[in-house]
């Protein structure tokens, strides 16, 4: 039984269909990379899986560990082991990084998780999770907080955006840590080198999966700028 199974998921906003009978399965301890150009529905998929307000599916089914999660709210899904790192993590006034990392579990060592994302604890533990952090720093802290939760499934929405190319290895290291801990990851990314660490991959276009398989194959297909939706032509959504 897959850890996450999505069957015929459709989500419409107004008259626009964002997810169109979308299907995907992720096994336990699997890292699955989801590639796709802007506006193809990747982030919407993440919000629907997490159960964000305003993102209830129009039709279809999502099961987690065999359980239908349609009626569960975000924190109830989190209690099952699903969590998510937003593409642009929000900032909080008056909450220190140390407190943020132990929000749910006071027993974790926040310093350890900061080190895992390439940040020096002595420089960051007492800073605030507020606008004084750069975009890249905030993303690293979000990744540290997700690692500290030890989830069964992490949805990482473009963890590499806003992080310099030199730090790509840090992101790869973090994803490898999820793997090592036995967590599954739905990895939304534009970067081929990051997608390559996944065990499997898919390319998404216009709310559907247009190519699935090994990351090398999917990346090659993605780079060719063609997809089934555009019917063999160069993708118009690039």
């Amino acid at each position: 039984m897959p850890l996450l199974e999505i069957k015929d998921l459709t989500y419409t906003a107004g008259e626009k269909t964002i997810l169109d009978e979308f299907c995907l399965s992720i096994e336990s301890s699997e890292v699955h990379a989801l590639l796709g150009t802007n506006g193809t529905g990747k982030s919407t998929l993440a919000y629907v899986i997490m159960g964000c307000e305003g993102y209830r599916p129009t039709s279809g089914e999502i099961t987690f560990n065999g359980r239908d999660i349609h009626d569960l709210r975000i924190h109830e899904r989190a209690a099952l082991g699903i969590t998510m790192a937003w593409q642009e993590p929000v900032r909080f006034e008056g909450i220190s990084i140390k407190d943020y990392l132990v929000l749910k579990n006071k027993d974790v060592n926040p310093s350890l998780y900061l080190e895992l994302v390439g940040l020096h604890p002595e420089l960051y533990l007492h800073r605030m999770v507020d606008k004084s952090l750069s975009g890249g720093e905030r993303k690293r802290i979000e990744l540290a907080s997700i690692l500290a939760l030890s989830p069964k499934l992490s949805i990482l929405d473009e963890p590499d955006s806003g992080i310099d190319m030199l730090s790509t290895q840090d992101i790869i290291n973090v994803i490898n840590l999820f793997k090592k801990n036995g967590s599954s990851v739905l990895l939304i990314t534009h970067r081929e080198e990051i997608a390559m660490i996944a065990g499997s991959a898919s390319q998404m276009c216009r709310g559907k999966i247009v190519c699935s398989g090994k990351p090398e194959k999917v990346a090659e297909y993605y780079k060719s700028r063609k997809c089934l939706i555009c019917d063999g032509e160069v993708c118009v959504y690039v």
């Binding site: 709210r73 975000i74 924190h75 989190a78 209690a79 969590t83 909080f92 006034e93 008056g94 909450i95």
Partner: protein, 315 residues
């Protein structure tokens, strides 16, 4: 138990350090109702405090060039259920002086209590004053707090205030602060209040940037629940070249609470600049969802967000 012991017991229960009275290096003034219970000045700082018919009148002077290392503690309170306390303060920091005043205002049993503060403050050239005021109110809400301050900050002077009323009922609060900032002066007025039940909060803070390159920040954080109301007015005027001011108000509203934010900005010199931002509403949805994705219930998430914005750490 003496009145001083009772007041300090309430102070300790509210999280204060009762040891400050015994420490000879720390200046303090403790008053309950209309009585001065304890006072200590230290070298370079003079207290001239008197009891009046309705409260206390105190003149505080920090002498020229003196840096008061330890915070000066002012402890005002009324332990009875009913009463009025009018505090008149005349504070002067002479040239190149600096001091940090911490005011503890303790009204644990207030059912019909008025606490009125009238302060006149003068910050001399190159002098720096920090003033932190924390209130400990009971759960009855029968208190009226009316702090008023008129402040002058002279050339290169610095004036920072931090008003906190986040524990217990607010009752009725009516803050009225006005600061005139001279050349290169820096002023920050920060207020954090949590209103419950039918608490009524009015905060009016004004910074007049009269001097060249003067700087001013008014930052207000208010959380409201039940049927509490708040009206926050932040006024900043930029009247000289290079003057820079900012008004920043955030109010989180729950239940049937009502909030107003009125930023008033005025510039009379083309080389001055004043900006403002105000946000009123329920808790930010993305903040809430992020914390819920970390496993917190909606109630726990709101609590973390509200505590964060009212925290001293968010200054």
């Amino acid at each position: 138990m003496s009145e001083l012991e009772e007041l300090m017991k309430a102070f300790g229960e509210a999280g204060g350090d009762k040891g400050i009275l015994a420490n000879e290096k720390i200046a303090h003034l403790v008053a309950s109702g209309h009585k001065i219970l304890s006072a200590r000045d230290i070298e370079g700082l003079e207290f001239d405090a008197k009891e009046t018919l309705t409260g206390i009148s105190a003149k505080v002077t920090v002498k020229e060039g003196i840096e008061i290392k330890n915070p000066v503690h002012l402890c005002f309170g009324i332990l009875h259920k009913k009463g009025t306390q009018r505090i008149k303060m005349d504070v002067k920091l002479e040239k190149n002086a600096s001091a940090h005043f911490i005011a503890h205002c303790i009204f644990p049993n207030a059912e019909k209590v008025r606490h009125i503060m009238d302060a006149v403050v003068e910050i001399g050239e190159n002098a720096e004053m920090k003033y932190s005021e924390t209130h400990y109110h009971g759960l009855y809400g029968g208190i009226e707090v009316v702090p008023k301050a008129v402040v002058k900050v002279r050339k290169n002077g610095k004036y920072f205030t931090d008003f906190n009323l986040t524990h217990g009922r607010v009752g009725k609060l009516e803050i009225d602060y006005s600061v005139e900032a001279g050349e290169n002066a820096v002023t920050e007025l920060i207020a954090k209040v949590f209103g419950h039940a039918n608490d009524n909060i009015k905060i009016k803070e004004e910074i007049l940037l009269h001097g060249e390159n003067a700087r001013g920040l008014i930052k207000t954080r208010v959380a409201l629940e039940d049927e509490a109301t708040a009206e926050i007015t932040g006024i900043t005027e930029g009247n000289a070249p290079g003057a820079r001011g900012h008004v920043d108000c955030m109010e989180i509203v729950k239940d049937k609470a009502i909030a107003w934010a009125i930023p008033i900005v005025k510039v009379t010199n083309s080389l001055a600049k004043v900006t403002h931002e105000a946000a009123i509403g329920s808790v930010d949805k993305k903040q809430l969802e992020t914390l819920m994705a970390h496993g917190l219930t909606p109630e726990e998430a709101v609590d973390v967000i509200v505590k964060g914005i009212l925290s001293r750490l968010s200054v």
